[in-house]
Symmetry: none
Subunit: 328 residues, 2 copies
DNA sequence: TCGATTTGTCGGCCTTTCCGACAATACAC
DNA sequence: GTGTATTGTCGGAAAGGCCGACAAATCGA
C-alpha cells in the first residue's frame, strides 16, 4: 500500500528535502461532526540566514503555549451507562475543578466547561458516597449522548490560564474512522500540499498545512530550535544507544531505549538526503512491528552514560517481555 | 388613578392631537426574561400633503405582513404536567407541521422550531395511540420547564413563508405582571414619548415608539389608510348603530354591536379635537365595564342595514346576560 | 507484601417519560 | 338530539438518574 501511494505522488524536483519556514499562525480546529482535533499552520519559506526572524518566530511559538493543567480519563462502563454519572478521579477534581465548599452537606456546585466548538456544558459536581468521592451527575448523560461517547473513549478537562474549564474528547480507536466522505483522501492531500509547498518554496510565499495527529500522526513540521539542537549536539553513529519518548494512550509519556542500526534515506528518489526518518533503529523491548523502525534525529536523546549499561533485566510488574537490543 | 397620572403628565402645547407620520421601520422584539412580545417603530412626522410618500409607506406596511399559517393552543393540565407530552390538535399537525411518513410504524419525526430569541427547540412528533392522535413527546418537557409554562398559558406555532417553524408563547393573565423592575414605569414612558414626539413634530425628525399589546393594549398608531377610510366613509351621528371586532383570548375574533351615545373630547385640555376615543358608546350585550365606553371612528363599522334592528333578544348559549344599549 | 486509598459496579428507590385505555368534550348533521 | 371525531386524563411499564454499599483495583510504604 505504501508503494501504491508512492506511485501516485509526482516528483517535485524544485522542492528541497527540507524547508526552513517562518511560522505565522497556528489555530486549533475540531471537526464539527466527530470532534476530531486538528491544527492549521501558515508557513512561509525563508532564507535560512535570516536568523533574527527565525528566533522571533521560535519565541512566539513558546509564548503561545500557555501554562495549563489538565486531566484525561478513559470512560468506564459506569461512566457511560445511563444508570449513573461520571466518577471524577480525586486528584483531578482537586487540581482542576473549582474547589467545593465543604461546609455544605453534601458539598456540591455547578460546573461549566466549554468544548472546542465553544458549546457550554453544565454539570453538577458533588462530593458524596461512602467512601467519599467526587462525581459529575446532572448534565453528564446529556454530554455522553450528545457526543456519542462509549466506554473506552476519553474525556479531557483543561483549566486554562484564565481559570476557565475546557472540555475535550478523544475517541477510542475503533475501526479506522472513515473520514473519506468529509475530508480529502490522503493521496489528494499529499499531492495538494506538495504542490503548494513547491510553489511557496519557489516564491518565498506563505502556504497552509493541516496537522491531524489521529489521522496521520507523523510530524512533518519541526520547531527550528529543536532541529538545530539535535543536529549540532547529537553525534550519530551506527550502534549508538538512545532513548526516545512515546506518548501513552492516557496522555502520559514513557521512554523506550534502542540502538541505531543503519543510516539511509527513506526515499532516495524524491527526498534524497532528507533527515526525516533516515535512522534505522532496533528497540530493546516490545515485539517487532510495535514501534517504527525508522526515526529522525530530533526525536531521540543520545544515551551519554558510561560506556555500557546492561539492557535492563527489568524490574517486576511490566506485562510484556522485552526483545533483545539491536537484533532487528 | 387615571386622574393621578394626568396630573403628572405635562402639557405639550406644540404637540398636535394627531401626527401624520412616515413609518420607517417595524421590528419585533421579545423580553428575554418573560418572552413578552413588543414592537418597535420608527416614525417621522410629515406634512399631510405629501401623499405619495404616505402611500408608499402604506404599501410597504402591507408587504411586510407575509402570508403565514399558525395555530394557537391553550395548554391543558396534561400538556404541562411532567407525566406526559403535548397533545397536538389534529388540524394543527396536518396544516402546520411537516407531514409524517405514514408508512412508518408508528409515524414519527423530529420537529424543530425557533422562538423569538432564535433559540431552537427540538421535539419528537409522533402519531400514535388508540384512537390515533398527534403528540409532541421528547423535548416537550424541557420547553415547558425552560419557559416556565403552566396550564392556561398558550403556545403558538407559526409556519413562515420559508416553511420554517416559529414558536411563541402567551402567558395567561395571572396577576398583573409586574414589569416595573425591568421596564420604565408607565408614567415615565408616557412623558418620555410625548417629549420625543413633540420634538420630532417640530423638526419633522424621526422618533421611536414601542408597542406592547399585553402591557398597554391601546393603539396610538393607526395606519393612515384605515384612518382616512373611516373619516371619509363613516357618517357619525348620535344614536348610530355600529359593530366592532374584539379579539378573543384564543386569537379568534368576535363582533359586538353597540350604539353611539355621545361625541366629546376624551381630554379637552391637552388633546382638544382629538378623534382618539371621542365616541361615547353603549353595548348591546355584556355587563357594564366589560367593554370600554369610548371608541374611535376607525375601530367601528357602521351598520348600514335597514332602519331598525331589534337589539337581539339573544340566542341561546351565551353565559352572561346583556346590558341594555345606550344606558352607560 | 500488606494496608490504605481510590474508584467501578450494583441494588434500591424515586422521578421522568412513553404508551394505549377510556372517557369527556367538541363537532357535524 | 345523536352519532362521530377529537383530545384530556389516567394507570401501567420502562427508562433515567441519584444514592450509598460494597468490593475490586490501585497505590505507597
Amino acid at each position: 500500500m505504501q508503494k501504491d501511494i508512492n506511485a501516485h505522488i509526482p516528483n517535485y524536483p524544485n522542492l528541497p528535502s527540507k524547508l526552513i519556514c517562518l511560522l505565522h499562525n497556528v489555530t486549533l480546529h475540531a471537526d464539527p461532526e466527530t470532534d476530531e482535533v486538528y491544527a492549521q499552520m501558515t508557513l512561509q519559506p525563508v532564507n535560512s540566514y535570516d536568523k533574527e526572524a527565525l528566533q522571533a518566530s521560535e519565541l512566539a511559538l513558546k509564548q503561545t503555549r500557555p501554562q495549563t493543567e489538565f486531566f484525561c480519563k478513559t470512560l468506564t462502563a459506569s461512566d457511560t451507562s445511563t444508570h449513573g454519572g461520571f466518577s471524577v478521579p480525586r486528584r483531578a477534581a482537586e487540581k482542576i475543578f473549582p474547589p467545593l465548599d465543604f461546609s455544605m452537606q453534601p458539598p456540591a456546585q455547578e460546573l461549566q466547561a466549554r468544548d472546542l466548538h465553544d458549546n457550554l456544558w453544565t454539570f453538577r459536581h458533588i462530593y458524596r458516597g461512602q467512601p467519599k468521592r467526587y462525581l459529575l451527575t446532572t448534565g453528564w448523560s446529556l454530554f455522553v449522548s450528545g457526543k456519542r461517547l462509549f466506554a473506552g473513549d476519553s474525556v479531557l478537562f483543561i483549566r486554562d490560564q484564565k481559570q476557565q474549564l475546557l472540555l475535550g474528547i478523544r475517541r477510542a480507536n475503533r475501526q479506522p474512522t472513515n473520514l473519506s466522505s468529509s475530508v480529502l483522501s490522503t493521496d489528494s492531500m499529499h499531492i495538494g500540499i506538495l504542490a503548494a509547498a513547491a510553489h511557496a518554496a519557489a516564491n518565498h510565499s506563505p502556504f497552509t498545512v493541516f496537522y491531524n495527529p489521529r489521522a496521520s500522526p507523523s510530524e512533518f513540521v519541526i520547531p527550528f530550535a529543536k532541529y538545530q539542537k539535535a543536529v549540532y549536539s547529537n553525534q550519530i553513529s551506527l550502534g549508538m544507544r538512545f532513548r526516545m519518548m512515546f506518548e501513552t494512550e492516557e496522555l502520559g509519556t514513557r521512554r523506550y531505549m534502542g540502538t541505531i542500526t543503519g543510516i539511509s534515506d527513506l526515499d532516495p528518489v524524491r527526498w534524497k538526503n532528507s533527515q526525516w526518518r533516515n535512522l534505522q533503529v532496533g528497540w530493546d523491548e516490545s515485539a517487532a512491528g510495535e514501534r517504527r523502525n525508522r526515526v529522525s534525529i530530533w526525536e531521540i536523546e543520545p544515551v551519554v552514560a558510561p560506556f555500557f549499561i546492561c539492557p535492563p533485566p527489568f524490574f517486576g510488574k511490566r506485562p510484556r517481555q522485552p526483545g533483545m537490543p539491536g537484533t532487528f
